[in-house]
């Protein structure tokens, strides 16, 4: 689902533009509606706690974007989420569901940490670059397993990535228990298992100081890398052959194949790109924040990235804003804790409601849109258009070619 830009421009020229516009408006409305629903349901909860919803919501805003420090924290939270959501979106465009970002970023952290500990002899800028590349290669390697298995054996990527996530957790645990375990126990304190602290050369610079943001926010130039990457991904998907093939495979594998696109090669390519993006997810944590690799079991950055990708409707630019919105909510927790009687866990519930309503309203909007376009093409008597309709209706992602050709999931509620 949510493969937003399914438009491999259908041949019927004139209708395309209005279709696109209609889809864009439809998506925007769905997004808006889901936010209203989430805020409304949230308000009910807030009233249940005996507080005024408007005050609570403004406390959240005030605590997050109401100060320079707050904005710094928000952007810092958003940085890894942008990478994570992009990784999900890239595969989505190709009709695949990479729920293995979680595992891929774990492996990326392990390989990056290895590089950060072993390649100390490199001069500073090269060293950082090498570490980032190592992280991306780690993520790529892990994603490649799922991609190759899918293409060569037909193993569904959802199942393999779930299993690879499980393996990656143990792999990280093993890495910090054995090969990368700290040699010098930090003096005087009883610490968890982790690697040695990386050399200062490889710590990515704190840019917060230039904007008056507290160093505690760990705002780094990785934020700009993330935003730049989002634009790059947008360009890749919209303006290059790779992107065109990806969207063709995602929206209609059958016609892509007929058009001479190698489905397998495209799928593996997308998984590699996705894995490289996933490999960047952990860099904020180990290079800007902690400066070492520790046990990071329940961060869920990979899964949260899926939520952010939905919220940004798999549009790279939309993802930037979605990640910032997520950051605002997450940072708002602190303000809730201090200023109101509402427990901070309320934020997580609000995020959950938001993502659920986004998923559902978007699905409804998509069906409505498809029905309208079917009606219109029917009225025009243009039966040729029905293929384009099928493509749009079935741009649901994560299906195999043959399955995607089925017009509807029959047997649903009549």
């Amino acid at each position: 689902m949510a493969a937003a830009g399914s438009a491999i421009a259908p041949a019927a020229g004139s209708g395309v533009r209005s279709d696109r516009l209609e889809r864009f408006v439809g998506q925007a409305l769905a997004l808006l509606l889901s936010m209203v629903i989430a805020l409304a349901l949230g308000s009910i909860l807030i009233v249940g706690y005996g507080e005024n919803p408007i005050e609570v919501y403004s406390a959240i805003l005030d605590g997050s974007v109401g100060s320079v420090d707050g904005i710094g924290y928000v952007l810092s939270i958003a940085t890894p989420l942008i990478f994570s959501a992009l990784a999900v979106a890239v595969c989505f465009k190709g009709g695949m569901f990479n729920i293995g970002v979680e595992g891929q970023y774990f492996v990326g952290m392990v390989t990056a940490s290895w590089a950060a500990l072993e390649l100390d002899f490199l001069p500073a800028p090269l060293f950082v670059l090498a570490v980032l590349v190592a992280g991306m290669l780690g993520g790529m390697a892990w994603a490649a397993i799922a991609g190759i298995l899918k293409v060569k054996t037909g193993a569904h990527e959802v199942v393999t990535t779930i299993m690879l996530n499980g393996i990656a957790i143990s792999l990280l645990a093993w890495a910090i228990n054995f090969p990368l375990k700290f040699a010098n126990a930090p003096p005087g304190q009883n610490v968890d298992l982790r690697t040695d602290v990386f050399s200062d050369k490889v710590r990515v610079g704190d840019i917060g100081q230039y904007f008056g943001v507290t160093p505690g926010a760990h705002l780094s130039w990785l934020l700009f890398v993330a935003i730049g990457t989002a634009m790059l991904v947008w360009f890749l998907l919209r303006r290059t052959r790779v992107g065109f093939e990806a969207r063709a495979v995602g929206s209609s594998p059958g016609s892509a194949k007929a058009g001479g696109v190698s489905i397998g090669a495209t799928q593996i390519r997308l998984f590699l790109i996705s894995g490289a993006l996933a490999g960047m997810v952990g860099m904020q944590q180990i290079l800007a924040d902690k400066g070492y690799l520790g046990a990071a079991y329940i961060t869920l950055l990979g899964f949260t990235g899926i939520a952010v990708a939905f919220l940004g409707q798999n549009n790279p630019i939309g993802i930037i804003f979605a990640a910032i919105l997520w950051g605002i909510l997450s940072r708002g927790e602190v303000a809730l804790q201090i200023g109101t009687d509402v427990p901070r866990e309320f934020i997580i519930i609000l995020q959950g409601i938001l993502i659920l309503s986004v998923v559902i309203t978007y699905q409804i909007a998509k069906r409505r849109l498809a029905a309208r376009q079917l009606q219109r093409s029917g009225a025009a008597g243009a039966l040729e258009d029905s293929t384009a309709f099928d493509e749009r209706l079935e741009s649901t992602g994560s299906q195999d070619a043959e399955e995607a050709a089925r017009p509807s999931d029959g047997g649903g509620p009549g």
């Binding site: 299993m163 690879l164 869920l300 866990e345 998923v359 994560s398 999931d409 047997g411």
Partner: protein
């Protein structure tokens, strides 16, 4: 390593078998009805936090004592798991959201919801006080008097271990002999045909998904109250995904699921008890923990014989699933 260690490892494996098997049965009902459910982990989490609360509430606050308190606590966990699975059911069946998307959201929301509930129940977000009430332990008659330390495998088990193992009979009978079960399966195999026979597909699918929530919720409640003694964030340890792995390997068959649930339960138990056993001591414990996942990948990729789900199991997803 002694024989006793091995016996204790087997005893632990029975406990993990129970968790994996109950959750796997949940997945079985949902997926046999045609709804892919990768939200089992999330359903377990909700079952764990509510089950831990229920056990305390019924036992201590309402002073019901043994065995009704812990028993009702478990049922409460199952009930809440069922409610939460309702979200998955509404999203996938009524609103036709992609099953995988909804499952991911379920897992994600569960973590937050569990913290929220935990704060409300226990006044702290990530755990409850240890040492909660649980059912008295059970020694299996006859087997628990085996000589040579082997008795340890059958001592001190939760009664639910026996219940879970016996569950295979009603589940198998329901799915293979009762009209309800056959209809449920037909919804997963060929919804169009089922519908043409006048079966209300969405109704059966709702029941399948809600049952999956009840089983996974009970499993989570069992983990929190009976095994650990309190709710703690992260205590489900991806067992929901291991259950999914066992389910896939079993070809969605409740009898074969028993075997894989026990096998993976044993794999979980090895690093806890058998680290110094021959062969095993050559491997770091983290590698042992990878076994269930590796086995599943190898199987699903078709590297070992014909272990890919047969045509019928593949069709179980036809009604809008994407596996």
């Amino acid at each position: 390593m002694t024989l006793t260690d091995a016996a204790v490892a087997v005893q632990i494996s029975f406990t993990y078998f129970t968790i994996i098997y109950l959750t796997g049965l949940g997945g079985l009902f949902s997926e046999r009805s045609g709804i892919v459910n990768i939200g089992l982990e999330g359903l377990m989490i909700i079952g764990a936090v509510t089950g831990a609360f229920g056990a305390r509430y019924f036992t201590d606050t309402l002073e019901m004592g043994q065995p009704w308190g812990p028993l009702l606590g478990l049922l409460f966990g199952a009930f809440c798991g069922m409610l939460f699975a309702g979200v998955h059911a509404v999203a996938t069946i009524s609103f036709r959201v992609d099953h995988i998307v909804s499952g991911v959201v379920i897992n994600l929301v569960a973590v937050g919801l569990a913290r929220f509930l935990s704060q409300a129940f226990f006044g702290q977000a990530t755990q409850s006080d240890p040492g909660g009430p649980h059912l008295p332990d059970l020694d299996i008659p006859l087997l628990s008097s085996l000589p040579g330390g082997l008795d340890r495998a059958f001592e001190g088990l939760s009664p639910f271990v026996v219940v879970a193992a016996l569950m295979v009979i009603p589940v198998w009978y329901t799915l293979n002999r009762l009209r309800w079960g056959l209809r449920l399966r037909s919804c997963g195999e060929n919804p169009e045909a089922a519908r043409s026979l006048g079966i209300r597909v969405s109704l059966y699918r709702y029941q399948g998904v809600l049952l999956s929530g009840a089983f996974a919720g009970a499993s989570g409640a069992f983990l929190a109250s009976e095994v650990i003694g309190n709710w703690r964030e992260g205590q489900t340890l991806n067992l929901g995904f291991i259950a999914l792995a066992a389910l896939i390997l079993s070809n969605w068959n409740p009898i074969r699921l028993m075997f894989f649930a026990w096998l993976f339960g044993f794999a979980v138990a090895i690093p806890l008890r058998l680290n110094d056993a021959p062969v095993i001591n050559l491997l770091p414990p983290q590698f042992i923990r990878m076994i269930p996942y590796v086995v599943t990948i190898v199987a699903i990729a078709g590297f070992v014989g014909k272990v890919r789900p047969p045509a019928a199991a593949g069709k179980a997803y036809e009604g809008g699933g994407s596996l």
